[in-house]
């Protein structure tokens, strides 16, 4: 089992996310993260899918995506050829005995304190999915009140873009 990141450029049409996720559901693809965002053009939306599975399942996922008429192009990313990151917001209980350790970890990871009161602290961390996982693991030693993360977004290195047509 490996982890794959696939970026999908789709027509910015009503219901397009539903078309894509409905296909994932009915073919039972194991999606671990999915983000949708606007792009440089109002015609398109960009979906970034993080998928866990075998190589053959990933190929099937890409082939099935190509069959959706609203899908314009697809690009698969690896750590070498792309930059990926995601955003984490985490709310921790503010307690006398753990405050120091939490702030130490926050500093080590380069997270930012976005809110602070005597009951709780909220931090923001923008980093790779793996670093965010590590940070959350550390926080598990303390009292986590709430977590929200965005899922990964990715862009290819270099000047090429997803809009350049790809042939299967």
């Amino acid at each position: 089992m490996s982890r794959f990141t696939v970026a999908v450029l789709v027509n910015n049409q009503f219901g397009v996310l539903n078309r894509v996720t409905s296909m994932f559901r009915r073919r039972q693809f194991n999606i671990s993260a999915l983000t949708v965002s606007e792009t440089e053009s109002s015609e398109f939306s960009r979906i970034t899918v993080v998928f866990d599975g075998e190589e053959i399942a990933k190929q099937q996922l890409i082939n099935q995506l190509y069959k959706l008429p609203d899908v314009c192009s697809i690009k698969e990313f690896s750590d070498d050829n792309s930059i990926s990151c995601e955003l984490l917001l985490i709310k921790m209980k503010n307690e006398e005995n753990t405050r120091g350790d939490i702030r130490g970890a926050v500093e080590a990871f380069g997270a930012i304190t976005v809110d602070y009161s005597k009951d709780y602290m909220m931090f923001r961390l923008t980093d790779t999915t793996r670093r965010i996982d590590d940070f959350i693991d550390l926080m598990k030693d303390f009292t986590i009140l709430e977590i929200c993360r965005t899922g990964s977004v990715s862009l290819e290195r270099g000047s090429t873009t997803i809009r350049q047509p790809v042939n299967l």
Binding site: G15, N18, S22, M23, R26, Q59, N63, Q64, P69, D70
Partner: protein, 557 residues
């Protein structure tokens, strides 16, 4: 010219070369029906008894003609009644455009009377679907739907048109019919790879499916078979692509396939697979399926390559174009050992043939064969009769066997036979069972109304035979809910609908009835009594391999 949305729907259908549509009117599609009334000299609308029948009829029309079948329904229940028909077409890759009315855009999302989210419902069973919220986009959306439906791997497309969009006016300019997307050939490097594998093969077997019919690639396929001395088998969906009596053709393979065909596939060292999807009914246990064979798989849909069976060489491309490129790269040679081996398998199959006398299922189909013209379309429903028909019918012309292969829709046949009769402009035949016929027999009313010549052969055994067969084999003969015990008199029923009909109990009676049926203008129902313990054989048990094949079965009474 300035036209209403409803007129644009009808005008665009006409512009796309559509002369026959099937459907059923209702409140939210009234405007389109008004336009159909105005344009009745240019486009023929066939009113069925139920929307499902209309969808199957559009499917049958499409299968026989290769054109896009069109079905029209109202919103809500009209639209949901299409669902089984659309799904049937989707699973068998049949080009179809379904047009539904819906409540006005201002009412959408408020659970109005007869409002349903049909684009949501049909999302997984269409190639694509559209909700048209703006009359300015209506004509182009219909054009795009036609293009999508027939391009690449064909399939159904649905268009949902709210009432206010049918009323709104917009400029309309006729355009020529859309062309399907340009076919593409598989990559050269893959074709070379495939040629190497085929040239190295000692026991080549060509396995084709419905994709071969869609691509019209029979000549190219036969050329390859001739050159490489390959034998040919097909899936259920491939039937009728080439004449049954072609010397290289071993018939359908799979769960109820011909013994020689399934066995030759099992023994082959190379399987050239064309427009097939290796469905579980075709392969049985995939772990044990064709272990000794290298699979070369060509399909226009890249997602079929390596979906269920691992091909050593997968080629994504149009079959006709790709095979034409592959053919000159192949070495011509004879393979006498393989020919002898296949000959022995054929002999073995012949020895196992059911030669019993009386009104056996096989004898009924053989009798029917005598009456089939070159152009006669034979439709089936789903179950034992479907397999008996698939095994023993003699096909002469492509697109003349219509069966729900993928979805396995009982009740498909009656609508399909209506559509097929319009498609071929000839008499069509429906082979059905008493269970399947019971599902959509309302469409007999349609056949009577339009005086459509359809010979309906009901293989009546009083049970749901295929399910019963499984219960016999795998469920200790617990005949749970498969004994119909209905008091239906099909002959009286048919007559009450205005059709001619008779019941038959012997081969002689059947032959005489067929003689009358094939001379009748309009539908003719033959209620053909067969024994409830007849089995479809051979049978590969589900999940089994060729080692588990059942060829003989004695049931203690």
């Amino acid at each position: 010219m300035l036209l209403s949305g409803a007129d644009i729907v009808v005008k665009t259908l006409i512009e796309q070369g559509c002369d026959t549509v099937f459907g059923y009117p209702g409140g939210q599609i009234l405007n389109v029906y008004d336009s159909l009334y105005t344009h009745q000299n240019e486009i023929n609308h066939i009113l069925t008894a139920h929307e499902q029948g209309a969808a199957h009829a559009a499917d049958g029309y499409s299968r026989t003609t290769g054109k896009v079948g069109v079905v029209i329904s109202t919103s809500g229940p009209g639209a949901t009644n299409l669902v089984t028909g659309i799904a049937t077409a989707y699973l068998d890759s049949i080009p179809m455009v379904a047009i539904c009315g819906n409540v006005p855009t201002t009412h959408i999302g408020t659970d109005s009377f007869q409002e349903i989210d049909i684009t949501g419902i049909t999302l997984p069973i269409t190639k694509h679907n559209y909700f048209v919220g703006n009359v300015a986009k209506l004509a182009d959306t219909i054009r795009e739907a036609f293009r999508l439906a027939k391009s690449g791997r064909p399939g159904p497309v649905l268009i949902d048109v709210p009432k206010d969009v049918q009323i709104a006016k917009c400029e309309y300019e006729p355009q020529p019919p859309v062309e399907k997307a340009e076919p593409f050939t598989a990559k050269d490097i893959r074709i070379i790879e495939a040629a190497k594998l085929i040239n190295a093969a000692k026991r080549p077997y060509i396995y084709f499916g419905g994709g071969l019919i869609t691509a019209n690639a029979q000549a190219e396929m036969l050329g390859i078979a001739e050159k490489t001395d390959a034998y040919i088998g097909c899936s259920l969906m491939g039937l009728s692509a080439i004449p049954t009596d072609h010397p290289r053709f071993l018939g359908m393979q799979g769960m109820h396939g011909h013994f020689a065909s399934s066995m030759a596939m099992h023994k082959a060292d190379l399987i050239l697979s064309l427009g097939v999807r290796f469905n579980d009914r075709a392969t049985g246990n995939r772990e044990k399926f064709a272990k000794g064979a290298a699979i070369v798989h060509i399909d226009v849909d890249g997602s079929e390559l390596c979906k269920t069976v691992n091909a050593v060489c997968g080629l994504r491309g149009d079959l006709k174009w790709t095979l034409a490129k592959l053919l000159p790269m192949l070495n011509e040679n004879k393979k006498p050992e393989w020919t002898a081996e296949v000959g022995a398998l054929r002999q073995e199959e012949a020895n196992r043939l059911d030669h019993r006398e009386g009104l056996t299922p096989r004898n009924a189909i053989l009798a029917l064969n005598q009456y089939l013209g070159k152009n006669t379309a034979v439709c089936t429903d789903v179950g034992q009769h479907q397999m008996w028909a698939a095994q023993s019918l003699v096909f002469k012309t492509p697109r003349r066997f219509l069966t729900s292969g993928g979805l396995g829709t009982m009740g498909y046949g009656m609508g399909a036979a209506i559509g097929a009769a319009f498609g071929t402009k000839e008499r069509s035949v429906l082979v059905t069972g008493d269970g399947s016929f019971g599902m959509n027999l309302n469409e007999l009313a349609t056949a009577v109304k339009y005086n459509i010549p359809i010979v309906i052969l009901i293989m009546n055994n009083g049970v749901l035979g295929m399910v019963r067969q499984w219960q016999t084999l795998f469920f200790n003969k617990h005949y749970s809910n498969t004994v119909l015990e209905r008091k239906t008199n099909f002959t009286a029923f048919a007559k009450s609908f205005g059709a001619e009909s008779e019941a038959v109990n012997t081969p002689e009676e059947l032959d005489a009835a067929l003689g009358r049926a094939f001379k009748t203008e309009g539908p003719y129902v033959i209620d053909c009594m067969i024994d409830k313990d007849e089995f479809v054989l051979p049978m590969l048990p589900p999940g089994g391999s060729m080692d588990d094949i059942i060829t003989k079965l004695e049931v203690e009474q």
